[in-house]
């Protein structure tokens, strides 16, 4: 069961909403789930990484000069510099249904306090440092992450491309002979994919009633 229908997607989304309401981790719906493909799951949070903020420079320079922003990580990729010039960033995650691939798909964006958006390289470097992962993982993840027009907002967002999601979900199911229901599929997908980009998924989601 690599794919799900829109109706199954909605079952998964409603499960997340119910659990999220009880634990208060902020998932909510935008648009309409009544309309086929008409809504999506969204969450905004402080990103669990610290990224350099261009506090000393003007906002205009900040968009060009990336070297000095990322420099501290080049000394030690596993350290998070406690320097006060580093500020947390904000992240927003959207889970949409891909009509073409018939799978859930994740869009994300992160920005600094001054409103400037993080580029993929900065984002990954920050996440890698926070998770203490080896850098080979970073390059692996970069390959699957592309900038894409958000289908609801028309803005550039980062996107984990869904064309291999069905294969991934087949692999995860492995020897699971029972047909996996929509809730389980959705939670398996979320707990596999979302943490890769720094969005934690609570174990509470794995208890089904």
């Amino acid at each position: 069961m690599g794919n799900i229908t829109w109706e199954e997607f909605v079952v998964g989304v409603r499960h997340v909403l119910a659990v999220s309401d009880s634990i208060g981790d902020g998932w909510h719906v935008r648009g309409s789930l009544e309309e086929h493909g008409g809504g999506y799951l969204a969450k905004r949070m402080d990103y669990p990484v610290a990224i350099g903020e261009p506090s000393e420079r003007t906002a205009e320079d900040a968009t060009i000069d990336h070297d000095s922003v990322t420099e501290p990580y080049e000394n030690d990729p596993c350290s998070i510099d406690p320097d006060s010039s580093f500020r947390p960033v904000y992240g927003e995650f959207h889970v949409l249904y891909s009509l073409a691939h018939a799978v859930p798909t994740l869009y994300l964006r992160a920005w600094r306090r001054d409103g400037s958006c993080l580029e993929a390289q900065e984002l990954w470097r920050g996440l890698t440092a926070a998770e203490r992962r080896p850098s080979s993982d970073e390059s692996e993840r970069l390959r699957s992450l592309t900038q894409q027009e958000h289908p609801f907002l028309g803005e550039p967002w980062y996107h984990l491309h869904p064309c291999r999601t069905a294969d991934l979900m087949d692999q995860i199911a492995g020897n699971d002979v029972d047909r996996v229901d929509a809730k389980r599929y959705f939670i398996r997908w979320m707990s596999t994919v979302a943490p890769l980009v720094g969005c934690p998924v609570s174990h509470h989601y794995a208890s089904f009633r």
């Binding site: 086929h36 493909g37 968009t63 073409a100 592309t146 028309g154 803005e155 550039p156």
Partner: protein, 271 residues
Amino acid sequence: MAEDREILREIWEGRLPVCFTLATEEVSTPIAPDPFYLMVPRLTYFPLVTDKVRRHFVRCVVPEKHDNEMWLEFEKCPLKWHYPIGLLYDLLVTNSELPWQLTVHFDKYPDNKLLKCPSKDVVESHLMHSLKEADALKHKNHIMALMQERDHKQLWLGLLHDRFDQFWSANRKLMEHSAEDGFRYIPFRLYAPQFTSKPFMQYLVKSIENEKRLTLEDLLQRANLNFESKGPFQVVIHGIDLPLETPLQWISEHLSYPDNFLHLCIRYSSP
């Protein structure tokens, strides 16, 4: 497999005359550079045909901006490079003025509105993602997945170098279908900014349903919008006003852009 090769060829040959002008506030030389005129294929993407435009203007902006990404604007609207040129024209130009007057910028890249495009590789990756999405709709992604890397390259290089035969040698495989069934779903995007804040509408429409060949009219009906409410309208692709009774399967095989999507614009005649 598409049979009306002449139509495919006509669509491929579609060109637009464009007049590029450097934004006045970015001119750093005593005399502003001349505008730059170019005939560009409707089917391609701006980053693939604007190297010359860049070279012409870059010497007239301050040296600090020489390595910046160039971007284009039409009437205050930054142009999305990931939309084919013909789509941008059909979507944005209401008075059919030609040549198309575009403003060139090297400064203040609007990265909250436009995807970054640091190199042509990004365009290639965008094309491949779109082709996979279209194939997922048409054939559950079976054809793109079975195609060899060589065929993927033919599609890309055919578009990049404007070579019809090279592109279609691979693209005809993506257009295959059984005679009785047609495509599983028609890959299309419907642009109707008058009705929605979304950049485009996309929903599932089959080629044939209950043995009936669906038409453009069927596709519009399924949008659940009253298009007539805003007056008489046209559905435009490649600058052509498509008759509503045209079968979707035929349109999809003959009028799709190289990304294998039909990019259909709803257009109202100006009052």
